[in-house]
């Protein structure tokens, strides 16, 4: 997998860059619902086609697009093969197609939208939930951290694999899994510590009013 599975923001002036982040996130949510509800292989392929068209319209570099697809390739092959064997090719195409379409659409959103803007949108959406005890700023921050954590975790997986390989232990699952889990937990603790040190998330008066 690649660290750029969801793509980092790339500034630009395309229509997709100019759309409000709320519109893009809503569209992504709706696309997820539609693709989940329409279970056929045709809708999945249509979803992939639309996602590829949007990726082209966003002027995402081909290299970034290829990286996103390459990151999914292994999963798509394994999942597709297993589903073909278990349920036939239409089911396999439908499931893998939905997955590829949604990852591509998410990549388009993250490539054309600064995380700061996503954070603002999520914070605004969560604001009505404040009477229920929800802290909108924290919800937005958590969402943003997920976007940060995915590539960071993939990076740790790559480093752990390389470390196991350097010791000739690439076929030993324990040599890869144990340090990987420990490093992910340590990274999560370090992130929490960094946020704590910066005072992010512990300022009541920095909530939106």
């Amino acid at each position: 997998m690649s660290r750029t599975l969801l793509g980092a923001y790339r500034p630009g002036t395309t229509l997709l860059h100019r759309l409000p982040s709320g519109a893009k996130l809503t569209a992504l949510l709706l696309a997820g619902l539609v693709l989940t509800l329409l279970t056929g292989w045709r809708s999945a392929l249509a979803g992939v086609a639309v996602a590829l068209l949007l990726a082209v319209l966003s002027r995402m570099p081909l290299r970034s697009l290829a990286r996103s697809l390459r990151g999914l390739a292994l999963l798509a092959i394994v999942l597709g093969g297993w589903l073909t064997w278990q349920a036939g090719w239409p089911r396999a195409v439908a499931t893998v197609g939905d997955l590829v379409a949604l990852v591509l659409l998410a990549t388009v959103v993250t490539t054309t939208t600064p995380v700061d803007a996503i954070l603002d949108t999520i914070t605004s959406v969560a604001r009505p939930l404040r009477p229920l005890g929800v802290d909108p700023e924290r919800v937005g921050l958590a969402f943003s951290l997920v976007l940060r954590t995915i590539p960071a975790t993939l990076g740790l997986a790559e480093e752990t694999r390389d470390a196991a390989r350097a010791r000739g232990l690439e076929r030993d699952p324990r040599a890869r899994l144990t340090p990987f889990v420990l490093r992910v937990v340590a990274d999560a603790q370090a992130t929490g510590e960094a946020l704590h040190a910066r005072g992010v998330g512990d300022d009541r008066d920095h909530r939106e009013t």
Binding site: E193, A197, R198, G199, D202
Partner: protein, 229 residues
């Protein structure tokens, strides 16, 4: 300069090998602009530094910054005291350089456009102009450390606690970051193994075995450390 006070502070930690005394009944008052914490690994330097920002809580005793109790008024203290980690990548929590600085500015700049502009200015101040859209993973070690410092100093705190900020850097970047740190307007509490950098501070504390073994002018304390190391 802020007044940092430690009053009979002890820090104990539970480890697999039993109770570890990280800092033992330490009394200190720090008011100088540039203070270095030096000493061997595991001596308690980082523990002492982390107490000031509230990252470590004293088992007993009190830590105060300008009269604010770090344990009780941590939120207020963290507004005044910024903390920089050894590994800058552990500190960068947003995907791009501009967004990471903008995260610190959310409190002071509500408007997204103004916030982005302010982040751009902060980056330029730290010699990182033009890197606002660069992935934090794509930065060099020196750039990452400068960004980490930009992120915590963007809010203009009174004090910067820097925990071995030059340890992971090459010679050129270490010198660049060291010069930047010593040129800051903020009060600096610097944990370092770079004795040349420590000598450029006004005061130094030698921490050994959880105790302050020497305290005085940086030149004298560094000389003492060299004589016993």
């Amino acid at each position: 300069m802020a007044r940092i006070e430690l009053d009979r502070v002890t820090v104990r930690r539970e480890t697999a090998d039993g109770d570890l005394l990280a800092l033992d009944e330490t009394d200190l008052t720090l008011t100088e602009g540039r203070i270095a914490l030096i000493g061997p690994n595991g001596a308690g330097k980082s523990t002492l530094a982390r107490l000031v920002n509230g990252l470590v809580t004293a088992t007993s005793g009190t830590v105060r910054v300008d009269g604010l109790d770090v344990a009780r008024e941590g939120r207020e203290v963290r507004r005044r005291v910024a903390f920089s980690f050894t590994d800058p990548k552990a500190q960068l929590v947003m995907p791009t350089a501009g967004e990471d600085v903008a995260l610190s500015l959310r409190r002071s700049h509500r408007d997204p456009g103004e916030r982005r502009e302010a982040a751009r200015k902060v980056l330029a101040r730290f010699g990182l102009e033009g890197l606002e859209d660069r992935s934090v993973h794509a930065l060099s070690g020196g750039q990452a450390q400068l960004l980490a410092l930009a992120g915590v100093l963007a809010t203009d705190p009174d004090v910067l606690v820097a925990d071995e900020p030059t340890t992971l850097l090459d010679l050129g970047n270490a010198r660049r970051v060291g010069d930047l740190l010593l040129g800051l307007d903020q009060q600096l509490l610097l944990v370092t193994h770079d004795l040349e950098l420590a000598t450029r501070c006004e005061r130094a504390l030698l921490v050994v075995g959880g105790r302050v073994a020497a305290d005085g002018s940086a030149a004298e304390v560094v000389e003492h450390y060299r004589s016993i190391a």
